[in-house]
């Protein structure tokens, strides 16, 4: 449609700024995702018809909620699906009487949180949580999500249909978790957001543009969550994403090759994102209840603070990894700590730690463990060991830019 006339532009602007809020409230009022989505479309269709004639209402969002709700009740009645959906019908009836329930700002913001927590409910499969969140909370189309995750669109659509069916049939409630359940439920939400971010940040395959959009979408989600629920770990995750994102321009060459942190042109780092990320980390660290995301963000902030790779405060980073290991012990974090120890105390100290992890049988199939081992062996002049580890890493690496990096390193050993 042509967007030249001001009313259409207004409708489009409201769609962009408010359609997800309206949907979140309609789901609460109508008690069903599909019914609410249809109501949302009907409401916007009505806006396109009526606003040019009657003018843009003073509170477009409230107008859309109330119009969508009436349209939904109307169509439920008309299709005489009232029996099958009498619960949705009952809730809708109540909503007609209770105008205050959807009008106030606070309950509308709560609806957005309800939607996030419902989409990220742990009783849904992890890939379904991601798909549903991007679809319902971010408003991406099924095709966009499918493209970004390199999944056939029908598969993704099926995932979303199943998730919605489970929400309805198993009666997953549309609510913000209680205080007691919050930490665990928030973890699930943060995991979904970080997964979306990494999917975009890793840029493993697919078109770079699409994947970059995923990172931007994750940061938008992270911001929304911090606005709605400023828990320390929510702030920590947003900080972590911003601090990683700040290096985007510096981490790949014009030809698409990976540039490691040490070799990056730090003048390309995004200072605004670093400043915002650092501020968020400081706030999160100062509060009680911060966790792994905040600590990882603090590590990223130490890197961001160093004007050159050589100026990095490795002692501080090792200390933060110690804290992280206590909060969230894992072999991968041990590996990262070992690399930091190598930077602080020399390659031999780091290599001993990595060998201890591998001898334990951990990370044997983790390419970065072998790449890190190779790097330290190379620095120690142990060329034969370095070559063996680079080759092991190469055999495990699947991403093209990473393979090229490892091949370059191997060639340099000669």
């Amino acid at each position: 449609m042509p967007v030249t006339d001001p009313v259409h532009e207004a409708v489009n602007a409201v769609y962009l700024s408010d359609s997800r809020r309206v949907l979140a409230t309609l789901i609460r009022l109508l008690g069903d995702f599909d019914v609410a989505e249809e109501a949302l479309h009907d409401a916007f269709r009505a806006a396109l018809e009526q606003w040019p004639r009657d003018g843009v209402p003073t509170n477009p969002r409230a107008w859309l909620v109330s119009t969508g709700r009436f349209k939904a009740i109307d169509s439920l009645r008309r299709r005489s699906r009232f029996d099958a959906l009498d619960e949705a019908g009952d809730q809708a009836e109540i909503a007609v009487v209770d105008t205050a329930a959807w009008a106030d700002e606070e309950s509308v913001e709560d609806d957005r949180l309800r939607l996030i927590f419902t989409c990220c409910h742990p009783a849904l499969a992890p890939d379904a949580q991601v798909a549903l969140t991007l679809r319902e909370v971010c408003g991406l189309t099924t095709e966009e999500i499918a493209q970004a995750f390199l999944t056939p669109a029908p598969t993704l659509a099926q995932r979303i249909v199943r998730a919605k069916a489970k929400i309805r049939d198993a009666r997953i409630p549309y609510e913000v978790p209680t205080r007691a359940a919050l930490p665990e439920r928030l973890d699930a939400v943060l995991r979904v957001i970080y997964l979306v971010f990494n999917e975009g940040y890793a840029a493993s395959s697919g078109t770079l543009v699409t994947r970059h959009d995923l990172s931007a979408e994750a940061i938008r989600l992270g911001r929304l969550l911090v606005d709605l629920l400023p828990e320390p770990e929510a702030r920590g995750l947003l900080a972590l994403m911003l601090l990683h994102e700040s290096r985007r321009a510096a981490r790949t060459s014009a030809s698409g090759d990976v540039i490691l942190l040490d070799d990056q042109d730090r003048s390309l780092w995004n200072r605004d994102q670093i400043a915002e990320g650092t501020r968020l980390v400081e706030g999160a660290l100062a509060s009680r209840g911060f966790g792994p995301y905040t600590i990882q963000a603090a590590i990223a902030a130490v890197h961001a603070d160093a004007s050159t790779a050589a100026a990095t405060d490795w002692a501080e980073i090792v200390g933060l990894y110690d804290v992280l290991l206590r909060a969230d012990a894992s072999p991968v974090i041990e590996l990262n700590r070992a690399v930091a120890v190598a930077m602080r105390d020399g390659p031999a100290a780091g290599l001993a730690l990595i060998d201890a992890i591998l001898q334990r049988g951990d990370l044997l199939d983790y390419r970065l463990a072998h790449a890190a081992r190779a790097e330290l062996c190379r620095r120690l002049g142990r060329t034969v060991d370095a070559r063996a580890s680079y080759e092991r890493a190469l055999a495990l690496a699947r991403q093209e830019p990473e393979r090229r990096l490892l091949e370059r390193r191997l060639a340099e050993l000669l």
């Binding site: 009783a123 379904a128 049939d169 198993a170």
Partner: protein, 111 residues
């Protein structure tokens, strides 16, 4: 002596037997004093598995998948929604050792 009769069906045959017939069967059993409780279940896609390990509740989508685990008992509970059902399920002692599959009961469709 009480006996639990478990109904197994392939997914595509879930609707092969009319609900009306099952309802009539249940009514007949009840009249004869044979029936303690009977319910139809939602399909397996609606299942949620609850486990408790080291005092921590873990929730996953889908039915239990450990082939060594066998059906050892059941609790038919009344709960407001899935969150409440999970809460109750996590208090069932074998949740610490095995897993509890939480499956919603389905209303029989008598139309």
């Amino acid at each position: 002596m009480k006996y639990l009769c478990l109904v197994y069906l392939e997914e595509e045959k879930l609707r092969a037997v009319p609900d009306r017939e099952c309802m009539a069967c249940g009514d007949g059993f009840r009249k004869s004093g044979l029936l303690v409780a009977a319910e139809a279940l939602q399909p397996v896609e609606t299942a949620t598995t609850v486990r408790v390990r080291n005092g921590k509740v873990s929730i996953t989508d889908g039915p239990f998948a450990e082939t060594k685990e066998q059906l050892a008992g059941f609790y038919l509970i009344e709960a407001r929604d899935l969150n409440d059902a999970i809460q109750v399920a996590s208090k069932i002692p074998p949740a610490r050792e095995g897993s509890i599959e939480v499956r919603p009961v389905r209303q029989l469709d008598l139309q």
